[in-house]
Symmetry: C2
């Protein structure tokens, strides 16, 4: 039984109960959401030490942070430190996107290092192994890929990113439609390179039933990746992206019929005026499946600051209905991987966007948090303000750096202080200049 089949059978699982309590809603609301496929609970049956998290309609918007081994100098310890920092900063789940090194070890250690759901992208390991075993990623076989999918699932990975909808038809459309930047997805590029070289359709599409079988066996949640993720705002909502999304809608339907939990990954680069349409389209084509957006960044020119352009896009996307935001770091578009500081800033920026959306959506508990902090602000209660800040460490650090200036400024008025007059008039805590 998967969470989905339990929900369809009318059963409220322990995970559903736990999530309902955390979110402050009724367990039945969670069960119903899972049954309808508008909530997923990435919780592999083999996973140990997981604290269940729900992603979907009516729940707090979640944030995902990606780490992983990349390049010869990468170190498992550094990537594990990034996981620790990301989770400490409030990441709700983590993706291990290792493409090189000891990918098996990294994954096992990632799963042990956090109690959040962990996701992976099996294609990366499959091509890395094909390079060693067969001399080239292009010589990977479909069975190689499925073997890695099963291996990762058996290890307890909670959600798997798979490019099931990146078909030959889709990539031909990207070529014929004259995209500005035809292909920016790393996994998508490798998969398509393989397809072109081997003149073979995407095995994740043609053998989707094998994907579903593995997913059902372990109750791994599928995260349908978008090989046609637009890589610049000018390519947003073009034929290739929408064609693939139509196919992903078909995959969602089939997964649900198989009792498999599923969510859909999204862009990428989206101008402000396309975000609502993008989310609405995904919700319609994918029958309300949770939408896992990468950012989106709202302009192409913010190199070095894409945690900010991503926070803007994430806020609007989540407000429009996206439920999981993949952070974007300042290292994006610079050709490097994020360091620990950038990981931390990326998580916080995404959380600001997510929380702003939760306020606007009326998610349970969101407005109350702001209200408590604002009451502390009114009362000039600094201790409470700092404790209630989204990132108390940072707020406290900035507050402690502050010089004596403001208290000195108040010497101006003495006992005839306008602020005091106002405070008395309004009946609030006495203010100073």
């Amino acid at each position: 039984m998967t969470q989905l089949s339990e929900a369809l059978a009318g059963n409220i699982t322990a995970a559903m109960k736990f999530i309902a309590e955390k979110e402050g809603i009724e367990p039945e609301q969670v069960r119903q959401g899972v049954a309808e496929g508008v909530i997923v609970i990435p919780a592999n049956k083999q996973r140990k030490g997981l604290i269940p998290t729900g992603i979907g309609t009516g729940l707090r918007t979640k944030v995902s942070a990606s780490v992983g081994l990349y390049g010869a100098r990468a170190s498992i310890d550094v990537e594990l430190e990034k996981i620790e920092v990301a989770v400490d900063a409030g990441a709700d789940c983590v993706m291990d996107l290792s493409v090189s090194g000891d990918i098996d070890a990294m994954r096992k250690k990632s799963l042990a290092a956090t109690s959040t759901p962990v996701g992976t992208l099996p294609l990366y390991q499959a091509i890395a192994e094909a390079a060693v075993k067969r001399g080239s990623p292009l010589k990977m076989t479909a069975d190689d890929l499925f073997e890695v999918i099963e291996r990762q699932a058996a290890d307890g990975v909670d959600f798997l990113a798979l490019h099931c909808g990146t078909t030959m038809g889709v990539i031909q459309r990207a070529k014929s439609e004259g995209r500005i930047d035809p292909l920016v997805s790393y996994g998508g590029s490798h998969l398509i390179g393989w397809m072109i070289h081997n003149r073979e359709e995407n095995p994740l599409y043609t053998q989707y039933d094998r994907v579903l079988e593995i997913a059902r066996k372990y109750d791994v949640t599928l995260s349908l990746a978008d090989g046609m993720r637009p890589g610049c705002v000018a390519d947003s909502l073009d034929g290739a992206q929408v064609h693939e999304l139509v196919i992903l809608g078909e995959m969602v339907r089939r997964a649900r019929e198989a009792g498999v939990q599923i969510m859909v990954k999204g862009p990428g680069h989206v101008p402000l005026n396309h975000i609502d349409a993008t989310v609405t389209l995904q919700k319609s084509l994918c029958r309300g499946a949770p939408y896992f957006v990468f950012g989106p960044v709202v302009t192409d020119i913010a190199s070095g600051y894409d945690h900010i352009s991503g926070a803007i896009g994430g806020a609007i996307a989540a407000w429009a209905g996206a439920e999981l935001i993949c952070y974007v770091t300042a290292a994006e578009h610079i050709g490097s991987i994020p360091d620990v500081t950038q990981v931390r800033e990326g998580v916080i920026a995404a959380r600001i966007g997510a929380h702003a959306a939760d306020l606007a959506k009326g998610i349970n508990g969101a407005a109350d948090w702001d209200l408590r902090l604002s009451r502390a602000r009114k009362e000039l209660d600094w201790e409470a303000q700092l404790n209630l800040a989204l990132d108390p460490k940072r707020a406290r650090e900035l507050r402690s750096r502050r010089s004596e200036e403001s208290s000195e400024a108040c010497a101006m008025c003495g006992k005839y202080c306008a602020m005091k007059v106002v405070s008395q008039y309004l009946g609030i805590a006495e203010r100073t200049c």
Copy 2:
């Protein structure tokens, strides 16, 4: 003649011509916008060395940075350095909000330090001087205030922030409606304290004709400040804020009748789902007058990161029609004044929001910038990418910090590289892993 009276007379001034060229639009479009009051050109007749900037409908969204002397330890040199950093980072105008020290000297040096429009808030100087001259800010006279307004205008300040709509009726409404945080505007608080103490209506309201006379004489643009700026998202669009905005609409009408250019300052703290309504309301009540928003921040809890929560709000506000964004820095809500680094980051964050909005609004030149950068990205032309970045310095710095990892990662494939296959298939620059 002011820019407004020139425009109404059908004349295209040198400033209008210059702005039209910078924005890539027709001079007649600028003239018409100024005539209708939907564009302002803050350009004091006494100002020297100004490069004119237009703010309003159809023009690029502008960003303003605030600096100023605050407290005994403040230094003119440090504040001037902040102006230099802000303008270097792309600020379109600067406000000198000095409240202490040698305010006259700071203003004169600010005007000399930049060729952008400069704004001030005369009340700050008037109360500081009353404290010295009369023993208390509460003993300031209306004539004291008008004397400072005229002095600052005569120095060449291009726009003046004035709380003309903060009437006794408005503040009583803030009290009776039970705002969470009744008053967060510094100038507004001092003004209201003065009004309560002296049992006198706001002189900027009762003697608004004197304001208009000075503004017309120097062609100073008025920036109507909102004493009732909501200080938390829960107070957004409450009776006090909207009551004041109704009065500001009346002030806009009277200014235009007097040939005085005018814009309106806005919040503050606004949840995502109030931003569009807030801007629409301002546009309706204030007859399309340019809207100068402070952020807005979209949540109260992002202490230490309000440049990011402000960038989110600024993007949506500008997209909804606001034309000038006052930056918010990471020092906001921490009880300190921003340092040089925070000034720089604040300007950049606001610019990201502003540009994202310009893309969505279809402002001339906005989409082209992203397109050029994305083409460079597609061509793997790093030099062009870095030059085209919003902040080339930062992009270059991050790029140079990057380790050798990515080039090494590519050792995996050798000549059988999927990326190469894809690149050839798509006919694009050859990619590597």
